[in-house]
Symmetry: D2
Subunit: 232 residues, 4 copies
């Protein structure tokens, strides 16, 4: 079941989702990834970046931190024009993948298949979920990471860990009932180091962030603040 | 959380899915439902039928056994042309609904929303799942029923309970780890009374059947055989 | 190609889409359909109603005006649990169907297949489109009706025919370049008789309406106003 | 409407779709693209390659022939995790994109939006269609290229141009009725130079091929044969 090729997951972890933001596309994706790498090296905190598919190769070439795909399709090599093959993102340099992000949701059986594919191909799987019960359902499929992100807070700057701490603690509780080992992240609205510190205190092992870093005036400084906060 | 309007679920239960078979459309749906009702009354076994949306009203008018919708959309009243509203199938006479049948799969978050809607509106929810781990994930969302149906056996006449008993026992095991109360059914290839008896012995509380009944030369006799087999 | 069972389409036509509004679900769907029938008989204007799937049978039983399904799936009888079979809505009493409503959009090849199925089964096909070029594309598939509905105006009470007359005239122009015979409707925001009159003057043969009637305080009066306006 | 950044489309054109074949993933995608470039330079025939998203950057870096994305989503920069942004594939080096391939079909309104995006961003748009009427519908949306590919022949080695010449001629006829300028390709089963020559004689301006090249023992030789055949 385990794949020796798969990197061991170091926690706490901060995953920066580049989405399809113009601030993190193409050449700018590489620049932002380099800032993330700088913070990771300076603080010794595990920081991963999740650029767009077409940027994985150039980003992975440019940095040594983990690179995640934003999605993989539940397919094996063959006739799937326009789909995202696990082998393809892996060969381009990805070492993990988001699955079922709230902006790219999958059928339940496809989440299961994508997790299994990631496991086989040696990719770290991070399944996103909207609420505590969905997080528990996702955890029952035994991915490496489950990330709870209430969609109504995404992009708001209102941190889930501060605005809805009970969502995070309830998620940790329900997830732990079905899966003792899975890494638990939270996301949505994370904008300050304190949001990260609170997230960890509530029982998570890290955060999944996007606009809080990508759209920040000074992504390096904020990410540095996030990384330091994991040590509190 | 519970809805006093929702009928109590009597087990063992046999749910007959009419799919979009011509043998169970329109006038023929009513005829088949009447045969199911006859067997249910003669054997005192709980038998439900799941006709197409447009047949729910006429079937529910014609019989007293439970009528399930084949699907509901995760929506509340409003601007959802062409979608299936829980209130609509309920008012037409449905008392339950299938959710996430392998032929009508949903996103994970939509399964969660549909289960919650069914609970609110007083509909029994039966979530279908392809394999044991997906069944456990579905069970974590706390529906009334989880039904395991390996898609590769659907319509084959090769019963999951006899051909892949380990799938059924593994499902029961994984589901029970996350949910002590949910009713567990199995389906796919169920064609003989013995398939039903074995399914119950493996730890399920009933079966979800389709072609085995709908396409049988004598649906009444086979369904009677199924019902008797639940008593072994 | 033509199906003798298919009713001849009388224009001008007003199609009232019941969506999944609570004001037009179940028993209320029948009441509203009766009001539409009353107006149709009094004014001799063709008015069709498009209730939810589960209401087609009871509505079609209660009124003599045309009943449209809100959607059909591009399937033939078989294993399509939870889908909408043309034969099923036809036997329940529908004589036509919406296809590709902006709230229930389909892949291009499925629109083509659904139109062909409707033709075979004797259902009038009404394909909805978002803008003039999409309307022309839809018209190239030779449905009976094309209806242009700019999504941004749906439900606003701001009538497309008055607020964006150039959208309607441009649609008529582009559609006529590829299809000389198709009936052209417009919709979105139609709330007054004048909106209907203008729509016809711009070259359409009728309107597709929803909230303007369904959510009106007095649907009968407004619909009567619409019907009279077709005669100006 | 026109974008000066968009390359002029030289015909006849051969587009090689790499799909998600293992023979054309990662390092092998670059090797295959180099063979295509070699043939293009030797024969002076326009040959484009359509690798997976994650391979666009490395392929475009390695060759000078046109690189197509296999799909773009109808989105502008923003919160669309896991989707394919036109700007992203363009910056990675793509100069065109397939849209609505039969293995990645889109809603009609999304095809329209994707074509418009491609036009704005300076990408050549190639819309795939299953049959003649769908091809005409696609052509009504004014893409640069329409490609007819009967899905039942894809991957069979039975060439559409030889097995179903009437499909090709009928497509050319219907497409020309609505669009005088669009480039017309055909695909599915193209395996021999003769298939290409026939396709051009039937009125197309090129072919869209996949397994016939990608899975050939000697892709260079077959592609060379295809390119020579365009000169007959």
């Amino acid at each position: 079941m385990n794949n020796p090729l798969k990197p061991k997951l170091q926690t706490p972890i901060i995953i920066v989702n580049f989405k399809t933001y113009s601030e993190a596309t193409g050449r700018k994706a590489v620049e932002l990834a380099k800032k993330a790498e700088k913070v990771s090296k300076e603080t010794n905190v595990n920081i991963a970046v999740a650029p767009q598919f077409a940027d994985i190769a150039t980003v992975a070439e440019a940095v040594e931190i983990p690179v995640f795909a934003q999605h993989i399709d539940p397919i094996t090599p063959g006739s799937y024009t326009g789909h995202v093959l696990a082998e393809s993102v892996k060969e381009a340099g990805a070492t993990g993948t988001l699955i079922n992000h709230s902006e790219r949701q999958l059928k339940l059986s496809d989440i299961d298949a994508a997790i299994k594919l990631a496991r086989e191909k040696g990719l770290v799987s991070c399944v996103c979920a909207n609420n505590p019960s969905i997080s528990a359902a996702a955890a029952a499929l035994k991915p490496d990471i489950v990330s709870i992100e209430p969609p109504e807070l995404i992009g708001t700057g209102i941190a889930v860990s501060k605005a809805q701490p009970e969502v995070v603690t309830n998620t940790v509780k329900l997830v732990r009932e079905v899966n003792a080992k899975v890494t638990i992240l939270c996301g949505a609205g994370i904008s300050h180091g304190e949001d990260v510190a609170v997230a960890l205190k509530l029982g998570t092992q890290g955060v999944l962030v996007a606009s809080g870093i990508v759209k920040a005036k000074d992504p390096y400084s904020i990410l540095r603040e996030f990384a330091e906060a994991t040590k509190q």
